[in-house]
Subunit: 214 residues, 2 copies
Amino acid sequence: MDSCLTATLAAQTHEIHLLHVTYGQRTAAREKRACEEVGAALGAKQTLVVSIEHLKVFGASSLTDAARKVEVFDANATGSGEVPSTYVPFRNGNLLAMACSWAEAIGADSVWIGAVQQDSSGYPDCRREFLEAFEKAVNLGTKPDTTIAIRAPLLDLSKTDIVKKALALGAPLAKTWSCYVAETQACGSCESCGLRLRGFAGADAKDPIPYRSP
Amino acid sequence: MDSCLTATLAAQTHEIHLLHVTYGQRTAAREKRACEEVGAALGAKQTLVVSIEHLKVFGASSLTDAARKVEVFDANATGSGEVPSTYVPFRNGNLLAMACSWAEAIGADSVWIGAVQQDSSGYPDCRREFLEAFEKAVNLGTKPDTTIAIRAPLLDLSKTDIVKKALALGAPLAKTWSCYVAETQACGSCESCGLRLRGFAGADAKDPIPYRSP
């Protein structure tokens, strides 16, 4: 949902090239289909799907390790400061490094990421300070004539704001997938489903994707 | 050679875990063997080999694209400031992101890289400013209790210094591979062979690996 709105915003001013990364996450196949369908709906110039194995090989996350349990969403959690088990060590650093390589290879001026800092799971690689520091590193580590901006237009939005904005812009939300554990009907209870459903409830709208009966 | 000396230095104070990445470079299989043999010689706790496809898929480098020509080394080049065709867009950003994920997953305190800034090919992702900026980004983008130092002990050494130091420490140079294009006998003429051979000549030593007859 976040990636979809981000791509919709990027498409307002840019020709867009979408990158989907399969890194051993449980719902990789469903996410890949979502990315391809969102790309088609937005008229993306290119939708590239690549596969990496290292994040799964390194382990340490319930998102890539079937033996670990994915936490159930707790709507009343007050923010313990604990990083959830679904955190994949430095995942966004890897995804951004990949996207920046591609951006430099094709001469793109910016890399857009659907990171959300507020109203999120508290992943450290979704914070503004990180994204700003990474942008600096990228521009020091690429060719002198390469300039790449890291854009994260959803950073300070709530999930409700995201749903409202996506609906207002006609972003193809029906093509998206958020569930961490299921691929046919969303589970409705993992952290990612919980945040998504809370966003739709806040926007007083119905989520168009299928959910398991409770 | 640079990775080997770096690992040798790290092993003086740390338990070492070596990471080899196959990213579509021409001599990936030979490099992988070199990494495994260096790891065995140094008593590495673990030597992990992972494969990524995206750098090759993105293209834009003669190192991963057989249709592009690898430049011949020019010992008299005065440094045009041109980045050579073997530059893989933001490669070290990707390699460091991978290594930092692994470091966070296993609780390592540092990531060591054999980047050489002086006496090198002028790759932008081998510069001190980049490595320092990346270290900052990593520590902002990982868990609050994760601290990872990026160590590049060869940054300011010449290739001659590197060979001398490696010989003095008994680093397993005979196990290493540098050639960009050949896997059985080094070509002796690519940029990487040229820098290596100049290092051995400067150290008044004989390179133990096999080269094609000129």
